[in-house]
């Protein structure tokens, strides 16, 4: 977020559209997360900008395009984790010196950056598999897991756990309770296929894992039968709290009140240097509380219409086409579920028992140390 919008470098802009590259990357691979897609987009940006001749030009170009990307979507937290990390990574590898560092000739530097950038993307993709291997041990035989949202890491973890238990005992011996946002029913009426996480539920049921789908309003009711809460995150913030799908915070509060452990699975490229002090300080203007006295609003827009709010904000601010399909958000999944996909909330670190990243199991307070390691 250190990047500035008014970067002087405009050369790459005409020939290369970072936003469309980013979108097509997301659409082409449903397994891709926003930060990784952003990093990949930046790598191909470097590749497609042969006119660069100085390091500061590279940095300017990266900064301006990262900012453009952030502007193009409503909630840039997850994305900015990727772009910030990549920018930092580039600076670090430039500072290192040697033939590929600041001392070397410029083409070598560029080649080095490109290979490094690819390596970076490859590692980020590998992370999910590693997390699944670690986190599945937290799902004990006979336990019931509560989850929500459309996190691909959570999905990977649950499937890995099912597969591991099938291998050991012949059948998966845990159950899943999937809290589904109530508002999608308001928007679609028919529910069913359109629910976020439907793909995960289907995959789990195919593996013979019993899955119950409940509305978010039923979380407190069900909590007594839950053994462990497992959620993904859009961003892991500096104090170890998470920014995640709206409803995660209240789930965390309920879990804590019932004494159930809550684990967060997130790749370390989602660690972001953001430090919210509360829900209003996330850095995204969500306008959740939309007070009105117009009676017809209820009928027109339902209870939760982030789309309307975001669209108005974006159209007012910039010339970028509103991301009405929500694909900027959660990739392909979100295409079907744009109505409620956009809202996020912030869960303070006190509610989180542990964070599981590809670097292992971390306490929330270790996040800041990981970030310090990356940044200094």
């Amino acid at each position: 977020m250190a990047s500035s919008a008014e970067s002087p470098h405009e050369a790459g802009k005409q020939s290369f559209d970072i936003v469309s590259t980013y979108r097509s990357l997301l659409l082409s691979d449903p397994e891709l997360t926003m930060p990784v897609a952003a990093i990949e987009a930046l790598v191909s940006l470097l590749q497609n900008s042969p006119s660069l001749s100085t390091i500061s030009e590279i940095l300017d170009l990266l900064a301006s395009n990262a900012e453009k990307l952030k502007q193009s979507i409503a909630n840039p937290i997850s994305l900015s984790a990727g772009t910030d990390l990549f920018q930092r990574y580039i600076i670090n590898s430039l500072q290192r010196g040697g033939p590929a560092g600041a001392a070397g000739d410029f083409d070598a530097i560029r080649a080095h950056l490109l290979t490094n950038g690819r390596l970076f993307v490859a590692r980020a993709k590998e992370a999910r598999r590693m997390i699944a291997q670690t986190a599945r041990q937290f799902i004990k035989v006979g336990s019931t897991v509560l989850t929500n949202g459309g996190s691909r890491v959570v999905s990977a973890v649950l499937q890995a756990a099912a597969e591991a238990q099938i291998k050991e005992t012949g059948a998966p011996r845990f159950r899943v309770v999937y809290a589904v946002s109530a508002s999608y029913k308001n928007s679609y009426g028919d529910g069913g296929d359109t629910a976020e996480g439907t793909a995960t539920v289907t995959a789990l049921r195919r593996l013979a894992v019993p899955v119950a789908m409940i509305s978010e309003a039923a979380v407190a009711y069900s909590m007594g039968q839950i053994d462990v809460v497992l959620v993904g995150a859009e961003g892991v913030v500096e104090n170890g709290g998470i920014i995640s799908r709206m409803g995660t915070y209240q789930m965390a509060v309920l879990a804590k009140a019932s004494g159930k452990p809550m684990y967060v699975v997130a790749e370390s490229h989602k660690f972001v240097r953001v430090f919210p002090l509360g829900q209003q300080d996330i850095g995204v203007d969500q306008n959740v509380l939309n007070f009105t006295t117009k009676v017809e609003e209820v009928i027109e827009t339902g209870l939760l219409t982030p789309k309307a709010n975001f669209a108005s904000r974006r159209i007012a601010g910039e010339s970028i086409t509103p991301d009405l399909d929500g694909s900027g958000y959660f990739g392909k999944d979100a295409l079907h579920d744009s109505k409620n996909a956009d809202f996020v909330d912030y869960t303070p670190p006190g509610y989180i028992s542990a964070l599981i990243s590809e670097n292992g199991v971390l306490t929330p307070s270790a996040v800041s140390e990981e970030l310090i390691k990356i940044w200094y």
Partner: protein, 496 residues
């Protein structure tokens, strides 16, 4: 500290006699550098002569307790004086001012009361030696000799027992007796520190004066030369965390100077490094913190702050200058009233300020949206060591789930830790708690003669420790972090 505990502890050590006001403050008690029954009445002599029996009367538990307290105090003291030889005398000194007057005459003696001092066998010391050997904690004696109660004119110990170890901290009041090696600039700095209890965040600047005057000394001698300066500063008031960090850094720097380096070059290098250090660690750090912290202030916020911190002041002024519309509540406390200064500054800048004392905290906290606090030090366990009263403010904020933000330069980070405000602290002469006498006032202030009132002790501490649970965010020049990361930033700042 919970009041219940205080009162209990106080009660516990209370002498049963009603103390006579004979040796009230400032009375130059004939040569007794040390402690106390300074009025040499016949009965007190008698008391001093009968001690072994009294000593035996103490129960084992009591002895143990006392030994433990002494040990703890010693340890704290040692830690506090790192590198500073003990300049302080004797066991518990009930009469601070008397002691202070005497200190310049007193040669440095070991703190340990029970160690005999054969080499210092002047009559004065002898007298003290007997006293300290036989009656390490005089009020105990009074307690255990009921038969002599009626006639004994024992001076009541006016120190709060739980904080006994803190009274031993040096506090120099005059410059008499200072080693001639101490430079004039340092002397002046020390003197100003006596006047201003508010520790200036940048008192590292004094180091500049250590180095610039050394004249003809070689770099190697510099370290030797430094110790009396540091010792002197330490004797004025115990050194702050930032000063200690800076001194440690400076000593390392001097040690690293190549002995071959030409003197002029070594000196200019050192001065440059010191200048850079001050710029980086204080001036730039403050600016960075202020700009980061002011971005946390949003339109419509009500910021609550306590006493006065330089960085917080800067932050508020910067946020105001940036055009953010917010209100400020300044909570202040006696006897320092540092907040008044802050209020003036803010009001002069055109900010909307409300001022109140700590008693209104639970009420005012409800209208606050964020709390900004300054720091004297950030301890390695994430706790905040700051002006006394900070913990109450932070506790109230966290009870109402208001975010508590600490602004603190990384130079104030330390690897020390504290669990309470008892072991490490600083005591202010309790007279400062009294209200000043007003002109033409008929009645005296209620506590004006508190030293004569039996069973009364006043306690005025400088700092307290705020638990890490009450702190949401620490803003340093490295960025904002949770209090749990203090130790990693400390390591980081050591390495850079």
């Amino acid at each position: 500290m919970p009041p219940a505990e205080t009162s209990q502890a106080t009660h516990d050590t209370e002498p049963k006699t009603s103390a006579q006001p004979s040796a009230s403050q400032g009375q130059p008690t004939n040569g007794s550098t040390a402690t106390h029954p300074s009025t040499p009445g016949p009965s007190s002599v008698q008391a001093a002569a009968t001690p072994p029996a009294n000593e035996e009367k103490l129960s084992n538990a009591e002895l143990k307790k006392r030994a433990k307290a002494e040990k703890q105090a010693k340890r704290a003291q040692k830690k506090a004086d790192e590198g500073v030889p003990p300049t302080q005398t004797g066991p518990s000194n009930p009469l601070r001012s008397a002691q202070q007057q005497q200190r310049q005459r007193a040669p440095p003696t070991p703190r340990e009361a029970s160690i005999p001092l054969p080499s210092l066998a002047t009559t004065r010391q002898q007298g003290r030696q007997t006293q300290s050997q036989t009656r390490p904690l005089p009020h105990r004696l009074a307690h255990s000799t009921p038969q002599s109660q009626q006639e004994t004119q024992v001076v009541e110990n006016k120190n709060v027992a739980l904080f006994e170890h803190l009274y031993k901290q040096p506090r120099r009041t005059t410059i008499a007796g200072v080693s001639k090696d101490v430079y004039r600039d340092v002397l002046a700095e020390g003197k100003s520190r006596l006047k201003h209890y508010a520790e200036p965040a940048d008192n590292i600047q004094m180091i500049e004066s250590y180095v610039t005057p050394p004249g003809t000394s070689l770099p190697r001698n510099l370290t030797l030369l430094l110790s009396p300066q540091i010792e002197y500063l330490g004797s004025c008031r115990s050194l702050s965390m930032s000063t200690r960090n800076a001194i440690r850094w400076l000593k390392l720097l001097i040690n690293d100077v190549d002995i071959e380096t030409a003197e002029e070059k070594a000196k200019s290098d050192l001065c440059e490094a010191i200048d850079n250090f001050i710029r980086e660690k204080i001036i730039i750090a403050d600016q960075l913190i202020a700009s980061m912290a002011s971005s946390k202030i949003k339109d419509g916020d009500t910021i609550l702050t306590y006493a006065k911190s330089k960085v917080v002041t800067k932050t508020l002024l910067q946020a105001h200058a940036q055009g953010t519309k917010f209100k400020v509540i300044v909570i202040d406390s006696r006897p320092l009233f540092e907040g008044k200064e802050l209020v003036q500054e803010l009001a002069a800048a055109g900010l909307d300020v409300q001022y109140s004392l700590t008693h209104a905290i639970s009420h005012l906290m409800q209208s606050a949206s964020k709390v900004f606090l300054g720091a004297h030090a950030m301890l390695s366990n994430g706790r905040l060591y700051s002006r006394i009263g900070t913990a109450v403010v932070a506790m109230n904020a966290s009870k109402l789930a208001k975010p508590v933000i600490v602004c603190c330069e990384s130079i104030k980070f330390t690897d020390q830790l504290a669990l309470d405000s008892i072991v490490t602290n600083e005591i202010v002469p309790p007279n400062e708690l009294l209200l000043p006498e007003r002109e033409g006032q008929e009645r005296k202030q209620a506590l004006a003669s508190w030293r004569e009132l039996p069973n009364l002790q006043l306690l005025d501490l400088m700092y307290d420790v705020t638990p890490a649970d009450y702190i949401d965010m620490v803003i340093t020049e490295y960025g904002s972090l949770p209090p749990s990361s203090v130790i990693s930033i400390y390591r980081l700042s050591l390495s850079t």
